[in-house]
Structure formats: structure tokens, C-alpha cells
Symmetry: C2
Subunit: 431 residues, 2 copies
């Protein structure tokens, strides 16, 4: 076995070679006809289904190794493939094939006084690095989205799912080959060496954007160390604010749905803010639903007093830190606020600029909330759970961004592209 | 004098306080009515003109100190204010006041199957850090653009122009005050301590984007060290490719204008590529113009041979490095290429993704160049010198970006904003 230094130099050379071939492939992909990209996606989907047994056998190796390493059931659950999961991956690729191709669209072309026409053309970003953890389906999902948006990609999945990922990547390669597109358009980093991530996020010349998908630890590390721009979301500390002019039925339904429809998603509400005027009436109703669903409530003094008087159980005192916490669990922070301004101050202070909703029938309050809350998704009278590429009509999403530049919120095909300027002239020169 | 450590801690606290007040001001500015922002711009313009004598006196201090420090004439030229320059700054602010306000525009609002309406709202980025060198007019220009786009800003000009910048910033503050907007919306870092830049570009919580304006050294340092996203362009290695189907008159006029109209700008052509089929006919004509204007030509062997045969002077052999060089001077790299593909390969290899133009009457060549050249501005039959916010109709520009994410090319008010999702519901919850 080589010493560390040699291994590093080898890895550096390996990653550089991947970067170079990805860059070359990206030029071909950027000009690839829509039909060729769709053909590749459909052929890859076909290959996934046709190779079901191979994929399950590959995945069984990963699962066996993960069990031997002592990973828990939740981990194994994310790692394990089933026939149904393979069909879902294939269907995902077919769906992406059906989506409109964003590349090449020209907008805003208009004549300028000089006689030139100036407009925008939508173009791929180039090469995308995707860094993810145990779920092998990300290999197909992310690969498919990058392909359709005309980007080459370098995929770096979790080392525990490496055999599964290779089997899936082989299907994608088959699709590319069948469509006459370069196989280097979708490359998988096949070494389990964790230093590969460090190399990938530093290849400014060969990689145009990094999309990290995984736990907070991964995203923090990537954000801290990356020399390449990162499209990411770190936290989803989402709020529902129930205004004093809220429709009570809508308020209760939204507070329930936003918290309890799924606990582990980034668009799940973590903090419920209730206007003082309606708290005594609405909080007990919501609190009883939470209690019944065994959602623990971390309350400010005022909300705790109201809920206790109403006989609601499952209460605890909220700390300052609780209001910054993404629970991802049956826990909700609860706070009574004076009204709209205090609610917006709370969101500005403790929120993560992901998704925040107001429940109100007051026109001016709704308008102010929409305008002033600086989050990637701002909602009126709807559950935060709607913040999702499918629900927004993107057809698919590579992730949800809390960046302020480029793409905010659910990122679909368009978020993987950019706009360049085009200028059409007839020989014009500048005075 | 305090020791370094104390100075650093003080500076850190100072910058943090500026960041915090900028963040607070940005929330007010984001919701400020267009009329108030325009009022502030107009009042600032008025103050600049009214305080002409104060500004000139302040500037004289800077100029005197710069001379004493041994700065050269070009430096003094950039630093010196005149009555005319002050009027130009004021007029710039008035022009920005006249531009449409991009903030709050809602686009794409459409119903989804769930019954929610989903669309985009254009919003300011928040707090912009501007880092610039000796030109004091950037204080007014950048401050005005940030204000109109609803962003707070922290300005960090060159230490040599600090007295001038303070006098200009005082006029902006007066404008803000008169319009009832927070003065912290436009803050100037008043310490000459160079470590302030390091602090500014690391304040992720308080600064949303950095715009460095200045020489390559500054931009490289900021890009390398920033923890905040940077909107920048590093190099302008712009190309004109004269295709074999070029109109000869247009080719000569564009090659002349793109190189010689101004030498020091980032959108000036640095490399001329000529298709082999037309090089013997067109290169001598262009070469004679360059020679007459004393533009030195760094030639490939083939172009040198053609130009020498035609008796053109001012020739030298081009090195590999020459093709990567942004001359910013009366020098042009010249190369004969086989045709479109070789031209595009050259641009992909040596270019800086700034601005590249093709001169051709061939429809398919023009279409391929537009689609395949991955630069922030791609042109057909027009001089690269048009790559400019004013020429593109942005009204003003904070700079030209060669980033691939967010804003590419000339960045005006819209480039200082982003899109958030808005969701309008009627009590919808997710199934």
C-alpha cells in the first residue's frame, strides 16, 4: 500500500483527469439536441429496469458491509434498494425526459439605440459536482437532472453505497452511449477515499458548482472548504405565523399540516408564532392536536400558560437555542407575539431563510409579510410543506437552496442553468 | 499606538457593528417605497453639487498625500476630482433615480393542481460589500445602485482616497436622511487599515455579496479569501473571430473598433482569430490599421508570414502565454485558425468567458457560435466594446461579471437582486 503522500498525489491526478474529461464532455452536452438527451434518459431508465437483479445484488453487498460496520436500521433503510425503488428511479428519469428543455431559450431580445439587438440565452452551468450520502437513488436522480439541463456532472456518493452507485452509474453510461453522448458526461468517483470530496470542491477550473445533499455536517464542511460556488441549504427553521386576523379553521389546519405531515423534511414547520389576540382561542386547539400526535411543545412563558390552562400536555420551556433549532422530529417551538412586526422580527432573527408562512385574512398584513420576509419561499395561507420542486411545478428538484444569489428555494432544471447575454449585430462598432 | 492584536480586535468589533447596522438598515431599505429611494438619490445629487468646494478641498488633501507617497500620474489622474467629475457623479445618481425599480416585481404567478398559486418576487440581496481602489466616484455610483436596488451597502474604497470618499459619503447620508431612510444603509469604512477588507469579506452573517472593483491583484485576493459570495470578473481576454464567410468591411471595422477604440477596458478585444480562407485577404488590411495606430501584433507563424509579406510592421511571435494575456494596451494577439471549430476550441482554451464575437454572414456558423461559446456575452457582427451596462440598456452597471452563477456579464440593478418564491393560498395543506 502506498504511503499517504503517494495516495494523495494519485487521488489528485485521478480527480483532475475526471475534471478535464467532464469539462470536455460539458461542451458536447451544452450543444446536444433535446432529443439526444431524452433518448439517453429513456435508455438509462430501460437499463435500470432490465438490470434489476444486478442492481439488487450490488446493493446487497453494500447493505451487508454496512451491517457489518454496525450502521443502524435508519441508515440501512436509506441505503437499501428494492424492486420498487429501482422502478421509481427509472420513472424519475422518464419524467425528467418529459420536462421541457431549458437550454437555448432566448428571452428579452430587443433593439438598442446603437442598432444591436441584446437579449439573454439560457445555458448550462457546465460541470456540476454532486456530493451525497447513503441514498443510492441520488445517483440516478442527480445524474438525470444534470444531463437534461445540459451539464456534465461528477457524482460523489457515500462510500457505504459505492457498489450500488457504480451499478446505477453503469446504466446511465449505457444511456449516454446509446444516445451518442460522451460517457464522461456523468462520472462517479469510485474511490472510497474521503479526500476525494476535498479535491472535488477545490477544482475551480473544472467544476462550476457544487450541490451537497446530505446532513448538516456534510453541508457545513463543503461550504467551509469549497473554492467552487455551492448551491445548498443548511437549515430549514421554518415558521408559521398565525395573525390576529387569521381564519381559525385555516390556522389550525396549516399549523397541524406544516408540523405533522412529515417530521424529517426541511420544509416542516419548526416554530409556531401566534398573535396575542388569538392565542387564547387558537393555541389550545392546535396544542391538543400536537399532544394527540405526541408532538412536544417548547413554549414561551405566555404560550405555556395558555396551553396549561387548557389542560394540554407535552409542554416544556423553550430556550433561546430552541428557536434556532431545526427539530426534524415531533417537537415544535411555540411563541406568542404581539403581532405582525414581532413575528417578522422573530423570523429575521431566528429563521434560516428557508420557508415561512403567514395565516391571515388581512390584505395589508399578507402584503407586508410577502414583501418583507426574506426567505426563499414566503407563503400566505398555505402549509410550508408545499415548498418543493414538484409542488411548485418544476417537475423535479436537485435540492432546495437557501442561497441568496443565483437559485433560491426549490432548484430544478432552470436552477442548473444560467443566462448569458447575446448580441446580434449587422457590423456595428462603438462610437 | 495599540499593538497589532488590540488593533485587530478593535477592527473586528468595528466591522461587526457596521455589519449589524447594515443588516438592520437593509430590512428597512428592502421595503422602502420607490419614491423614498428616488428622493434620497436626488437629494444626494443636490448635496454633491452644493458641496462642490468641500469635495474639491477634501480631494486636494488626498491628492497631496498621494503625491507625497510618490504615486504616479496615472494614479493621481484616477484619484483627482474636478467640478466636471462631481457633476457627473450627481448626474449618475439622478439617472439611477430615473431607472425603473426592480424590487417587488412579481412574475410567473400560476395556479398549481393543489390550488396554491406559485410565482417569483424580485427582492434585494440584502447587504452588499463594495471593495474598490482609488477612484472616489465609485462611492457615489455604487452607493446609488445599491440604494435603488434596495440593498444596504458597506463601501471600502482605497485608503488613498479616504478623505474624498468620506466627503462623498456624507452627501449620500444627507440624501438618506432627507428621505427618511436609515443612514446606515450606505456606510463607508473609514479606517485605512487594510485588514478591514479581510473582515468585510468574511462576515457571512451580515454581508450577502461582495463586489470587488479594481485591479487583478485585488480581485484575486478577494476571491481567494472571501467567505461571502463574490460578484466579479477577473480577466477580459476577449476574442473576435473572423469567419471565412465574414463580410470583409464589417470584419475590418469590428477588428479595428474592438481593439483600438479603447485599450484599457475589459471588453477590449485581446486576440484576433482569422479563418485561414480569408486571412491572406483580410489580415493585411487589419494589420495596416493596427500598425498605423501603433498596435503591436503578437502573431502565430502563419499570420506573421501573411503580414510580413504584406509589409506590415510591428510584428512579434506570439507565445502560448500571450494568448492568455489581457493586454489592456496597444497589443493584439493574432492567430490564423482552420475555421469555426478551431476558433471555438481556442476560445474555450484561452478565453476568460467575458465577451467573444464572430463576424460572419453564415447563418449556421452564427447560430453555433452563439450557442456553443460559453462566455457572459456572445456576439455576432458587433464589436466586443458593446459589452457594457449602458449599451445593453441597464442604465448603469456596478461591474461586469464573469461568474457563471447568478449574474453574468454587465450587472445593473437586477443583478443586485434575486428572486424569492411566493405562494398564495386559501388554507391549502399538503396531502
Amino acid at each position: 500500500m502506498p504511503n499517504d503522500l503517494t495516495a494523495s498525489a494519485d487521488l489528485h491526478a485521478l480527480m483532475l483527469a475526471m475534471g478535464e474529461s467532464a469539462r470536455a464532455a460539458s461542451r458536447v452536452l451544452a450543444r446536444a439536441p433535446t432529443a439526444a438527451k431524452n433518448r439517453a434518459l429513456e435508455a438509462a431508465a430501460q437499463a435500470l429496469v432490465a438490470r434489476e437483479r444486478t442492481l439488487l445484488a450490488a446493493n446487497a453487498q453494500d447493505v451487508k458491509a454496512a451491517r457489518a460496520d454496525g450502521h443502524d436500521d435508519a441508515f440501512i433503510d436509506r441505503l437499501a434498494l428494492t424492486a420498487k425503488a429501482i422502478e421509481a428511479m427509472a420513472e424519475g428519469l422518464r419524467e425528467v425526459a418529459k420536462l421541457p428543455d431549458p437550454v437555448g431559450a432566448v428571452t428579452g431580445l430587443a433593439f438598442r439605440p446603437s442598432g444591436i439587438q441584446v437579449g439573454h440565452m439560457r445555458v448550462p452551468l457546465g460541470v456540476i459536482g454532486i456530493i451525497y450520502e447513503s441514498r443510492p437513488n441520488v445517483t440516478a436522480d442527480a445524474g438525470g437532472l444534470c444531463l437534461k439541463s445540459g451539464n456534465a456532472c461528477i457524482l460523489r456518493g457515500g462510500s457505504e453505497s459505492i457498489v450500488s452507485n457504480q451499478a446505477i452509474a453503469a446504466c446511465l453510461a449505457l444511456g449516454l452511449k446509446e444516445a451518442g453522448l460522451p460517457e464522461a458526461a456523468i462520472q462517479l468517483v469510485a474511490t472510497p477515499d474521503r479526500a476525494a470530496v476535498g479535491e472535488l470542491i477545490a477544482m475551480e477550473r473544472h467544476v462550476d458548482a457544487i450541490v451537497p445533499r446530505g446532513g448538516k455536517g456534510l453541508i457545513e464542511r463543503v461550504s467551509r472548504e469549497a473554492r467552487v460556488p455551492v448551491i445548498k441549504h443548511l437549515d430549514g427553521v421554518c415558521h408559521v405565523y398565525i395573525d390576529e386576523r387569521a381564519d381559525p379553521a385555516k390556522a389550525v389546519a396549516i399549523a397541524d399540516n406544516a408540523k405533522t405531515q412529515r417530521y424529517g423534511t426541511c420544509n416542516t414547520m419548526e416554530t409556531l408564532l401566534v398573535a396575542r389576540a388569538v392565542a387564547p382561542k387558537l393555541l389550545p386547539k392546535i396544542g391538543r392536536i400536537y399532544a394527540k400526535k405526541q408532538v412536544q411543545m417548547r413554549c414561551c412563558a405566555e404560550s405555556r400558560s395558555i396551553l396549561e390552562k387548557a389542560g394540554v400536555t407535552g409542554l416544556a420551556d423553550a430556550t433561546e437555542e430552541d428557536f434556532r433549532t431545526e427539530w426534524l422530529a415531533p417537537v415544535a417551538s411555540v411563541r406568542v407575539v404581539a403581532g405582525l412586526d414581532e413575528a417578522m422580527d422573530h423570523i429575521a432573527r431566528y429563521g434560516s431563510q428557508h420557508t415561512d408562512a403567514i395565516v391571515t385574512e388581512d390584505w395589508s398584513h399578507a402584503q407586508r409579510f410577502l414583501r418583507e420576509v426574506d426567505s426563499s419561499s414566503v407563503m400566505v395561507n398555505a402549509s410550508t410543506r408545499f415548498a418543493d420542486g414538484y409542488e411548485y411545478g418544476l417537475g423535479a428538484e436537485i435540492g432546495i437552496s437557501t442561497n441568496k444569489l443565483h437559485a433560491r428555494g426549490p432548484v430544478g432544471l432552470e436552477g442548473l442553468t444560467s443566462l448569458k447575454w447575446i448580441v446580434l449585430g449587422d457590423g456595428q462598432v462603438r462610437d
